[in-house]
Amino acid sequence: MSEPRAQRQDWGGIMQRLRADPRSVLAASVLLGLAIVVVVGPMLLPHAAYEQLDITNLVHVRPGREHLLGTDAYSRDVLARVVSGGRVSLLFATSAVLVQTVIGIGWGLSAGLAGRRTETVMMRCVDAGMSVPRALLLLAMLAGVPQVPLWLLVLMMACTGWFVIARLVHGEVRAIRSAEFVLAARALGASRRRIALRHLMPHVLGPVLVSSTLAVGQIIVLEAGLSWLGIGVQAPRASWGNIIGDGTEFISSAPWVSIAPGICLVTVVLALSALGDGLRDALAPGQLPRT
């Protein structure tokens, strides 16, 4: 391990290396393009996501000219639903990741700077959190709430997801907390809070950014899974997960309903993981990528 220096991440250099990496550029463009589509799409499309066009004649129309991705069991246009569901899925995942990153950084920094006892207790809690199957825990927490409001869902997702970030931050802090620049700051009388925010935080942000990028993908998939089971995003609001769920019952007669949002899921997760990998390489040039 190299000697930690009191230096901020070189964000300009990181951006430069990212731009030089075709994989990251492609991934970022795909994500950006998708974001634009889900934001402006609903205004341009001929049908609304909730609109039941003709419940007697237009049920399960095959993909074609009129309906590019077909219609579902309620005669709703699948394309409109996928676009509107993408808005929900992407917004949901980004906000959940933001919340969990803040919790994780706070916890990790506090644990790293706390006394030995407190540190052990805090990190044992993180170990415990990481050992519980997350889907199971969310299921246990959510099933009792009849119509889960979206903000509560975001909060619960974040509350079950910050452990990885906390451990990552704690690990980084442990590695640099006795470095000279930290000791110097301490000797100058800087408070714990100041040391955490001004001196340790810049070092931690890089790895956290990578981990959070990957976490967005995980959360999109997890939210989709929960919505597919019917306990995540609630109808009539569309999300990729509950569109797949709507199609599941008719999977053999009208597979297009479930397949289109699934392909969107795969694309987004793929782009996010490519971007995460690219970021990791850009942050530590010359090092072998880890996974």
Binding site: S131, V132, P133, R134, V145, H170, I244, S273
Partner: protein, 331 residues
């Protein structure tokens, strides 16, 4: 020996925290096991109160917790109100199914994954490397439940090769010869195992490739080659063996996700395992069964990662405990 005791103690603490947290969490959400009975007008509040008392759900959370812990110490996980049997019996029925499904998938995925990763590393930059790399990249992005649906659609609906779900054919005559029964079980295993293997192979192969490439550049590999060891032996005995370490760590780490994913995959294939049991327990607000399922899941995960750590030390004795922790936080 000391390290083993420490590890066991650590695991116990983790399980205790999880058990306590889940115990409180399921009680925080509104409703209780008898809330569904509210719709039945003939069940007066008095009857429901009587039920709650009979199942020990009338006290404060603290009292209930103390009661539960003392039964747990005697090996009693409580009574499942939704399946009307002791929690331990409900779990005993579901756990073997999940273990069979996961065990088979994990073994196949790790054997296949390490082989693919090794193949990639030995032909770095070649067609095989790039092809497998592309496929495994997509594999890491597949949502579990969606892949299960697609596999189901392809294998059971389009081509009708395999049964749609369940562990056994219900129409199989009683007293059928053993090989028919076995074949029937295997046929039911194919699709869910395919799904899980697809999900697991990708990260294993990718990690194995990177670990191998990392080892192949090491100086002791050059030394071995210079000493005249055959290239195959260098690859297998010197590089591959040490490169297994990260993969074993991954196996330990993948367990929670695997167990969580089981909820979805078991749901798609109607596989009567722990995931299905937990999901139905949650829906019925069957407190003891929910806590029991989470507890068993966590114990399995903790035991799995302890096993992985121990195995890692065997594979590479230089690995100290701290390094394992470091590798874990990096993964």
């Amino acid at each position: 020996m000391h390290a083993l005791i420490q590890r066991l103690w650590h695991g116990l603490v983790v399980v205790a925290i999880v058990a306590t947290a889940t115990f409180v969490l399921v009680r925080l959400a509104p409703g209780d096991p008898f809330a569904a009975a509210l719709e039945n007008a003939r069940l007066t509040p008095a009857i429901r109160a009587q039920w709650r008392a009979a199942y020990g759900l009338d006290g404060s959370v603290g009292t209930q917790y103390l009661h539960w812990i003392s039964s747990l110490a005697r090996g009693d996980l409580g009574f499942s109100t939704s399946t009307n049997q002791p929690v331990s019996r409900a779990i005993a029925q579901a756990l073997p199914n999940t273990m069979l499904l996961m065990g088979t998938s994990v073994v196949i995925a790790f054997v296949l994954g390490t082989m693919l990763g090794a193949l990639q590393a030995s032909r770095r930059g070649g067609v095989a490397d790039r092809g497998i790399g592309f496929v495994t990249l997509i594999g890491t992005a597949l949502p579990d439940f969606w892949l299960a649906l697609v596999v189901l659609l392809a294998g059971a609906s389009w081509w009708r090769l395999f049964p749609v779900g369940g562990v056994a054919d219900l129409l199989l005559p009683i007293g059928a010869p053993w090989h028919t029964v076995l074949l029937d079980h295997l046929r039911h295993l194919v699709l869910p195992v395919c799904t899980l293997v697809t999900l697991l192979v990708a990260p294993v192969a990718r990690l194995q490739r990177i670990a191998l490439l990392d080892r192949l550049g090491a100086e002791w590999i050059r030394t071995a080659t210079a000493k005249g060891v055959a290239p195959r032996a260098v690859f297998r005995r010197h590089a591959w063996r040490t490169a297994l370490g990260p993969v074993v760590t991954l196996a330990g780490l993948a367990l929670p996700a695997l167990f969580g994913g089981a909820v979805f995959i078991e749901h798609v294939f109607a596989w009567p395992g722990m995931g299905q049991l937990a999901a139905s327990a949650v829906a019925a607000r069957d407190y003891h069964l929910v806590v029991g399922c989470v507890l068993v899941g966590t114990v399995m995960v903790v035991a799995g990662s302890m096993l992985a750590d121990t195995l890692l030390e065997r594979l590479d004795p230089r690995v100290a405990h701290d390094e394992i922790m470091a590798a874990r936080s990096a993964a």
